[in-house]
Every structure is written in structure tokens, then in C-alpha cells.
Amino acid sequence: MADLTTDFLGIKSPNPFWLASAPPTDKEYNVRRAFEAGWGGVVWKTLGAEGPPVVNVNGPRYGAIHGADRRLLGLNNIELITDRPLEVNLEEMTRVKKDYPDHALIASIMVPCDEASWKAILPRVAETGCDGIELNFGCPHGMAERGMGSAVGQVPEYIQMVTEWCKKYYDKPVIVKLTPNITDIRNPARAAKAGGADAVSLINTINSITSVNLDRMAPEPMIDGKGTHGGYCGPAVKPIAMNMVAEIARDPQTHGLPISGIGGITTWRDAAEFMALGAGNVQVCTAAMTYGFKVVQEMISGLSQWMDEQGYTSTADFIGMAVPNVTDWQYLNLNHVTKARIDQDACIKCGRCYAACEDTSHQAISMSEDRVFDVKDDECVACNLCVNVCPVEGCITMETLAPGAMDERTGQPVSEDYGNWTTHPNNPSATAAE
């Protein structure tokens, strides 16, 4: 069995699976259950400043998008930070950390954007013995209206400023949690790094309306006839999150900055993908909310089995391994030619590939009277749509044409040379190939 022990910023945890700051980590009771179930770490639900805690709505807090068979694909929420007194949270964190010294415990914090507020709370958090802090610059609903959360995360200068305060008043690792509700994730990441952040974590939730109640003509979740945008998360956001993680991992200015990956991680494979893109560990919320804490057991066994199969003995062996292969479009090899191939034995003859190709793509699939579907190589541009709409995994695949083979669509043999847009004759600003 592979060793899943993970060292993130010097914080050791039995595995790279942490629970993200969210309702599942709001209380000692939940966190103890989480550790007992096997989670490697927990980012405690965001603490606010001393004084009367925030209040939450008393109507529905979540909205959802379902896939086939009512599988939860996306969840949004309008819950705020912890609505329990600061003292209670700090006491509970202290007790939990004492009982679980080998598990990671991180405090998420969101206080007003002034130095005094941060200076006041940081020593109290430090007293709990927790392993580090995460700055919640991400929540897009409610708190943003009060100048916190994503309102800070959307202004790189604020990110840098607050990070600097935290590094000044707190001596353990500082993780900056980023909001995806921006145009270019690299700017807030650079600001965090400039402020001295030890790591960034992303993504927080995405501004969203999940559905509209057509009887009441109001968005869901609906509170007394009104709704508001909430933070979207779950499997549906994973592609958005992975791109943002990769962008930071490959940006020369932030390359090497540790990343805690968040966004729709539901299985061991999701986690491995985030880590391959540069995340040193991952944080999970929606999967736990959907399936309970026990879901981590599959993540642990799956990641461990995969690492054994690959010969990885430590998570460090594969973290970031896919980063060098994330590139700009202009560097993709335009001489690489593939064609769709349909496995006739696996084909169930549903015809979805045909409809997709005939109606919306390149008319590159033929259909016989007895429902045999074949690829027309002279039309196939290898767009992959047929692969993606086919209900049978592995039935349609892409075959790479060997150099020298004839591409029947272009009438040209496949070149063995690498050639991208920067050198392509159709590119007006092409530079001559070396």
C-alpha cells in the first residue's frame, strides 16, 4: 500500500484529503466524526471577528443541479461564515487539535479589511494550536456585500495587504483562498505570493443561480419569495477549478507556490488529477455533503491502489507532473492527426454519434440500414464529439495516424515533424521554423 502521508507547507497529514472550510467543519462534533472516518485534515469553517456572530437565513440555504438518476452534480449555497461565537469555535478547535495531533487542522478566517481586526484575531487562533490559517477571500455571497470574502479576493492589492498583515502577526503557514469570480486567476495568486502567502487554495464557490421557481417567479433557494446568488460547487465546477489551478501552477510568477486544490473533487481520480496539475493536497466539501464522511475511504483506497500500480511511493512523486504538459493553444502540434474508431462489438447502435456528427459536426459518420455506424476518414477532423456523446465508455476511441500515413481528409501524408501555429503558413505573424 502506497504511503499517502502528505506534507503540505510542513503540515503533515495521514492523507492528502482535507475537508474544506464549509458546513461539514463547523463544529467539534462533525470534525471528530470526519477524522474518525479517515479525513487527513480539516479547514475549520470560517471564523469571524469577536462579537455577536453573523446570522443565517432560516429558509433553504442550498440549491442544486441534478444529472440523470438525480445524481447531485452541482450545489449552491447562501450560508455565511460560522454563526457560532468565536470563543466556542476556538475552544473546540483547541480540544480537537489536542486529541488529533497527527491530523491537519487549519483555521479559516474572515474579518473586516483593516489591520486591527486581523491583529486582534490571529493570536487567539494561534492559541488553539492549529497548524495554519486560511484567509477566506472567496465567499461570493452575503459577506461580500459587507466588504469581505470575494470583495477582498477580487482586488489583488487587498489580497496582498491582508496577507502581509497575517504574515506579520502569525508565524505558522498562511494559505490564501481565492475566489474564481474574477477574469484572470493569476492576478490574485500573484498578489497572494507578493504578500508572502505560503500557499493558495482554490477555488472557492462560483456566483450562481441554480434554478428559477416558475410558479413564484423567483430564484432558488427562495426565501419568502426572493432569492439571491449563491456559491456554486460540486462536480460541475471541477473543470473550472482545474484550469485555475493549472494556470497558477504554470505561471512563471507563481510557479512553485504550493496549491491546495478545491472544486468538485468526488473520487480518488479527481484528487489525483488536481494533484497532477500541481495541487499539493486537495480539499473536499460537496462529496462529503452528498455521501457522508465515509466517502473518503474510496478516495484513500483508490489513490493508494493507483499509486501502487504506477510505482509512486509518495504523493510528492506525482504532484505537478502534468503541469509541463499544460500549454497555450498556439503550441499544440498541428501535424498530429487522429481519426475516430468505432468498436463494432461494443456499439449498442443508439446512433447518438451519427446525430452529433451529421447534425452538428462534419458529416463524418455513416449509418447503414441495419444501424452499423462507421467513420468516414475523409471527413473526420477528429473533433472527439462522437467519443463524448457515446454512452458506452471505450466504444469510440481516437486512433493516432502514424507519420507517413495518408490523412484521407487532407490528401496529405502525416508529417513526422512537430509544427504549431506560430510557424504555420496561414498565420500572418508566423515566424520561420528553425
Binding site: 466517502v295 474510496e298 483506497s301 465508455e393
Partner: protein, 446 residues
């Protein structure tokens, strides 16, 4: 069509080879990967799942199905085998319709459960095709344990003991190991000699020696085992077949259903296995169903299972009854055999209808006769040759929940022991749990 199809008497080759092949193919064929993923996707990953509670070996079913769904069937197999080392066979023979699948929330909600048994088979088959059994032995303890019977209980017990570092010798009366997995299960439930393959795979852990042809009370005694070993586990099953107690029971053509089922599993060419044209099976359990259904599949023209009580009292599950009916077996309820007909060989069986009076089953004066050239009896089996020192309860060796008998140092499990249904999966659970208790006792933790 074979010319022998309608021939009177007990003859071989009623059906041609291709018909026999089709009839005795896998009852629940293996899933391919796509089918497994689609089936796994239906699982809701229930909390404190009813399926897991219903499983006698408490396999974490939601977890292993999720492991299949996420592309790690090997991890799924490990989840299964940690609880049930014979998970491969149980996937094939468990009456899932009365266990895990009966309580699946999707069975309750939609009348269509997640197909847990077939998913379990997919996982265990995948692992067994790829790898040796996945468990390692703990450091040697120097303790020796004798296990009597190489059936599900004995094998499960031996494997768990070996895992804990003990050395195990299994004494098996028959020349082949596997117990009822090898001799007592319908051929279409365990194809391709799976039972033997599973035994070989299980023994891969090491530290287990099987001595065949060693029967308790014959080549070995409890006393000798107790003096030679640190602990003894008895899992020899039930030996004797219950008799009808009717005149003519010794006629040619009358035999225990268990022998027929066993013969079918050992015969290499089904075309050489003789079967009657008109077959009657007496009994209401799984053995009756297995015998009746297989008689039809071999080419018997008329097969009737007769059970003395009503349908609701049948030990065979509804699924099994439907399976027999689907093969063309007729099931008659509330009739008891009262006479065996035939001068010389068997020609028929007389029955009286039964009814319940004052809570007692009684025969009525009216009844019927069924023509028969072959009669299989399947009215249960009894414990024979249990060592005298042991306390017997309800015809079985009395054991505690942990499998301990009334004699210190002796444990028992499986069909020969009290408690639980007589199922493969129950025997595995009892063997496993007894092994844990033996281990704790030997190591001074109990």
C-alpha cells in the same frame, strides 16, 4: 433433438451436447466492464446501508460498489474479501434476493435492486484473474490449529487463522476440497470449476495444509486432534440425508437429491449423466429446487417438486421457485408422500394432501399419484458422528456467538453448528468469527 428424449427410465443423453451446454451455462453471467459501471452507478451509497446489515458477513457493500464505480475493482474486491474470503463463490450462490438485494433501497423504491451479487462477482473475478489473494500473514505465532472440513466454514476459518500467523491443518473427509461449494451447489451457479480455483487461490496465503481422506471418527478423533493441536475447529457440515421412512425407499431410482447434485458437479460430460423421464423431488428447500431444475435441464420430461406445506413455508426463495418454474418444473404444495409404487424399480409415488389442524400438519384421506421413474429426496440433512463430548442442541453442535463449543479448545461453525441459516455466506461468517475467537484465546486476549 436426441432420440432418447422420451425414453422411459433413467437414461443418459436425453439432450444433445449443445442443448446441455446452453442449459448449464452461467445462471448470472459475468458483467463486462461497461455493464458493471452502469450497474454500480445505481447505488446510492446509503448511510448505515440496509444491504450491509443484511449480509451475514457484513460486507461494506456501498463502499465496494463505489470502488467499482471509480475504476478500482481490485480495491472493491479487497473490501469484500476482508469480510468474506469466499466472496467470489458467495457472489454466485448467495440468495441475494433474500439478503442484500431484498433490502436494497432501490428494490424497495422501484422493485429493481442494485445487482449487488453480480457486482461482487465482477470485483472478485477481476482481482482473482489478476492477482494472488491480497492478504499477508502476520508473524508466525508457533500455534497450530486443526480444522475439520474443507468447506466454506473450515476454509474461512483456516484463512483467517493463517492471516493471524497460525499454522493450520485442514482434515477433509472427501478426496476433493470445497465442501458444499464443490459438491452441493447447482452446476449452473458455479461454472468452470470455480470452487476448486477459489480453494487454490485462498490457499495462496500459505500456512494451510489440507489432508484429504481424513474423516472425523474414522482416521482422526477429536481426542487426537486436541492432543496434537492448540485448538480445533469443527466445520464438517451435515452428513446424513434424512429418510422418507416409507416402504420401498430402497428401490432403484430413489436417491438423495444431494447425491444427484454432487454427481452433476463432478461429471465431466453432462451427456453421460442419466436422468429419469418422469422425475419427482420431495422437499421445499434449495436442494429440492437445485435437483428439480437440473433434472429438467438434463432433459427430464416431467419434473414435479412436492412439498408437504404451503408455499409460504418453503425454504427456497421466491426467486429460486420462479427459476424452477421457468425451467418447466411444477411445484405442488401441501402434499406428503405416503407410498412408493413399482414392482422392482420405481414407477410412481403416492401422495396425500395435507392441511393444518390445531397448528399441526396432518394428512387428508384424499390424494394423488405421480408417475415416476426417478425420485429425489430433499427433506434435509442431519448431523452424524459428532464427538460425544460436545453438547448438541436441536440436532447441531451447540456454540456461542463466537463459535465456542461446550468443550474448551474446540470451536465449531457452518451447517454442523447451531445458529444461522445453512448458507455458504453464513458458514463463512461463522468460520471467520470462530477464527478471531480462537486467535484471541490462543494469544491470551480473550
Amino acid at each position: 433433438m436426441s432420440s432418447k428424449q422420451f425414453e422411459e427410465g433413467i437414461v443418459a443423453g436425453r439432450l444433445d451436447a449443445s442443448a446441455l451446454d446452453a442449459n448449464f451455462s452461467d445462471l448470472h453471467p459475468a458483467y463486462d466492464e461497461h455493464e458493471a459501471l452502469v450497474a454500480a452507478d445505481r447505488c446510492y451509497f446509503c448511510h448505515d446501508a440496509p444491504c450491509q446489515t443484511a449480509c451475514p458477513t457484513s460486507i461494506d457493500i456501498p463502499l465496494f460498489i463505489r470502488q467499482i464505480a471509480t475504476g478500482t475493482p481490485e480495491a472493491a474486491a479487497r473490501t469484500i474479501l476482508e469480510q468474506n474470503i469466499l466472496g467470489g463463490m458467495c457472489a454466485r450462490v448467495c440468495p441475494t434476493e433474500t439478503l442484500c438485494e431484498e433490502v436494497c433501497v432501490r428494490e424497495v423504491a422501484e422493485g429493481k435492486p442494485v445487482e449487488i451479487g453480480r457486482l461482487q462477482r465482477f470485483a472478485t473475478d477481476t482481482l482473482m484473474a489478476k492477482a494472488a489473494q491480497p492478504f499477508d500473514r502476520a508473524d508466525a505465532t508457533g500455534k497450530k490449529v486443526a480444522v475439520v472440513g474443507a468447506g466454506p466454514a473450515g476454509l474461512a476459518c483456516a484463512h483467517r487463522l493463517a492471516m493471524h500467523g497460525h499454522d493450520v491443518v485442514i482434515f477433509e473427509a472427501r478426496s476433493k476440497s470445497g465442501g458444499l461449494n464443490e459438491f452441493g451447489i447447482a452446476a449452473y451457479k458455479s461454472t468452470n470449476d470455480f470452487a476448486q480455483a477459489e480453494v487454490d487461490w485462498l490457499l495462496g496465503i500459505g500456512g494451510i495444509e489440507i489432508r484429504n481422506g481424513m474423516a472425523l471418527g474414522d482416521q482422526i478423533t477429536l481426542d487426537s486432534l486436541q492432543s496434537d493441536f492448540d485448538a480445533v475447529f469443527l466445520g464438517m457440515g451435515l452428513g446424513a440425508v434424512n429418510a422418507l421412512r416409507l416402504e420401498g425407499e430402497d428401490k432403484e431410482g430413489v436417491s438423495p437429491a444431494t447425491d444427484f447434485i454432487s454427481d452433476l458437479r463432478q461429471v465431466s460430460d453432462l451427456g453421460s449423466q442419466p436422468i429419469g423421464r418422469d422425475v419427482v423431488v420431495i422437499g421445499g428447500g434449495m436442494t429440492a429446487i437445485d435437483a428439480g431444475a437440473q433434472a429438467r435441464l438434463l432433459g427430464a420430461q416431467n419434473v414435479t417438486i412436492v412439498y408437504r406445506r404451503g408455499q409460504e413455508a418453503m425454504a427456497a426463495s421466491e426467486f429460486e421457485q420462479d427459476l424452477a418454474a421457468q425451467k418447466g418444473v411444477r411445484i405442488i404444495h401441501n402434499a406428503a408422500p405416503i407410498g412408493i409404487e413399482g414392482n422392482g424399480s420405481l414407477t410412481g409415488v403416492r401422495f396425500a394432501y395435507t392441511e393444518t389442524k390445531d397448528g399441526k400438519l396432518v394428512t387428508r384421506d384424499d390424494g394423488f399419484s405421480l408417475p415416476a421413474d426417478q425420485l429425489f429426496t430433499a427433506i434435509g440433512q442431519s448431523l452424524t458422528g459428532a464427538p460425544e463430548a460436545l453438547t448438541i442442541e436441536g440436532g447441531k453442535i451447540q456454540v456461542t456467538e463466537a463459535g465456542a463449543t461446550s468443550v474448551a479448545g474446540v470451536w465449531a461453525g457452518g451447517d454442523c453448528a447451531s445458529g444461522g441459516d445453512d448458507l455458504t455466506v453464513t458458514a463463512v461468517a461463522e468460520g471467520r468469527d470462530a477464527a478471531e475467537n480462537i486467535h484471541a484465546t490462543l494469544m491470551g486476549d480473550a
